[in-house]
Amino acid sequence: MQQIGKPLKVQQPAALDMRDEEIKRLKEIAKELRVWIIKTISEAGSGHPGGSLSAIDILTVLYFHTMRHRPQEPEWPLRDHFILSKGHGVPALYAVLAKSGYFPMQELMTLRKVNSRLHGHPVAGALPGIEASTGSLGQGLSVAQGIAMASKMDGNLFRVFCMVGDGEMQEGQIWETLMSAPKFALDNLVVFLDYNKGQIDGHTKDIMNLEPIGDKVRAFNWDVQEIDGHDVSKILSAIDRTRSAMGKPHFIIANTVKGKGVSFMENNIGWHGVAPTKEEAARAIAEIESHLIQ
């Protein structure tokens, strides 16, 4: 093992009595952003609704609760970094970035159009808040690892969050990084697996089964947790643990539902990479808006 810089100090989680109100606020944001995901993909006429809707609760917690970042100063050196390794889920990332104030909400409607800054997959430098070009699967996790190493070298200035897809776990490069991050004791690296169980050609278990994924990643010497990736309080608790479990990189298996929040999309592989028509979008939005936040 090669320890880079000084070990991280244990950080105290936020006080629990603040939680109920905070959870409600985060759920409200995620609900609003689900609507934007449907609106933007429908307007674009193409895109990936299934994997954007499965990712949005985690992204909302990261950008509106956990990460230290300054939308008005995207290059702030002390910012926590986020890398969306499953680049096709970018409508969810664009939505949290716009809602955070990196760029106007209305610009979301230019998704995938010519001359737009909102490319079909993330492009580094094209838009404030996008750190790396991703979309060729398997690569973003390595990039996130490199940023975490740079942070450690400079005295642990910031943390690095990364989201990988379950289909993406089939890439060899992912396992190269799963092997290397523990070598460098990157406890400032937090990886979420958006485990929505589906990919373009079918169910992940049929295409190339990942199981037992927790055992595999644990055997590679990561700190592994498994949660419901749509339960905001569970996401918050998992992140709390990453602040106190030191010495290992963090891997959070987030069990999610592809197309979460829209009943006709949920767990339907057909919605991996297909845009809803205007009529379908209207139905989806009406359903999302009818959800009561508790």
């Binding site: 580094a124 990039v143 190269e176």
Partner: protein, 311 residues
């Protein structure tokens, strides 16, 4: 100065770059003994990372370190780096990451290890990527200066370096000028203009001297910057001489010869170009025997150039 391999020049220069700039980081994929990073590792262990035999991860991690403000130099054999083309395309080139890739063991000049270890298509592959800068120094002096230039340059750079020792083609007062063709020998009215790059520059120069003695005066240009290519110089020389001859220890498809041909074609000049270099897979053998077999020795280059002059 004694002959030196450009991989050795890199190993020395990157230590100096590390002394000057604390952001310089070196990363290996279990070939550090061959890519000459041992000195840096000894001097700056906290800035040296062994990534194991996992080049995709090496490339992606370096891109991340660059995002975090570091200047990573990643090293492996040219064929193993360029072989991870799509990872370079995405994580380095498309992200415009400030990563310096050091591809050593270029060409058949590596000798006995044979074709699987020979970088013979790296220029062609990486030259096709936007944002990419490609450098191939011809001797120690040039290599050391190029490493320092690349450290200060913001953006991806690929170095193509040799395993074998190269004799000096420059004097100590040489100044590396990025993006400019380096005229080593200038004939007032040349019969042939020779463009050469990397390990075959010295042999090309010697071949040109012999041709000159036999009445065929040659101009010789060393191309250290393969991308961006010095189109202007190629066009200028092609206006002075209607026979252009290129030499490289790389496939003739996509390499130096292609870059020269593209520049001349774009200018619409009616000149003949002969691209001399590798046309099939390499093989095992001593470097000298391989250079003889594939026509990259002094006599081999001279013969190919003479044949070209005749028709």
């Amino acid at each position: 100065m004694a002959a030196k391999a450009t991989r050795q020049s890199f190993g020395e220069a990157v230590v100096k770059a590390g002394e000057k700039n604390p952001r310089v980081v070196v990363m290996d994929a279990d070939l550090g003994k061959s890519t000459m990073t041992a000195e840096f590792m000894k001097k700056f262990p906290e800035r040296y990372f062994e990534m194991g035999i996992a080049e995709h991860n090496l490339i992606g991690t370096a891109a991340g370190l660059a995002i975090g403000g570091k200047i990573p130099f990643i090293t492996s054999f040219a064929c193993f780096l360029a072989g991870r083309y799509e990872t370079i395309r995405m994580s380095i080139s498309y992200s415009n990451a400030n990563v310096k890739m050091i591809g050593t063991h270029a060409g058949v000049g590596i000798g006995e290890d044979g074709n699987s270890q020979m970088g013979l298509e790296d220029i062609a592959l990486l030259r096709s990527l936007p944002n990419m800068t490609l450098l191939q120094p011809a001797d120690d002096t040039e290599a050391q200066q190029a490493v320092h230039w690349a450290t200060d340059h913001k953006g991806p750079v690929y170095f193509r370096l040799t395993r074998q020792k190269l004799p000096d083609v420059h004097t100590e007062d040489y100044k590396f000028e990025f993006g400019k063709g380096d005229i080593l020998k200038s004939a007032p009215t040349p019969k042939l203009v020779i463009f050469a790059t990397g390990g075959v520059v010295a042999n090309s120069l010697k071949a040109a001297e012999e041709l000159g003695k036999e009445g065929s005066a040659c101009t010789v240009v060393n191309i250290h910057t393969l991308k961006p290519f010095d189109d202007e110089l190629a066009v200028k020389l092609a206006r002075q001489c209607n026979k252009i001859f290129t030499v490289e220890d790389h496939y003739v498809v996509g390499g130096l010869g292609s870059a020269v041909s593209e520049a001349i074609t774009n200018a619409g000049l009616p000149v003949k170009v002969y691209r001399h270099g590798m046309k099939a897979y390499g093989e095992s053998g001593s470097p000298e025997d391989l250079y003889e077999k594939f026509g990259l020795s002094v006599s081999g280059i001279k013969k190919a150039a003479s044949d070209f002059l005749k028709n």
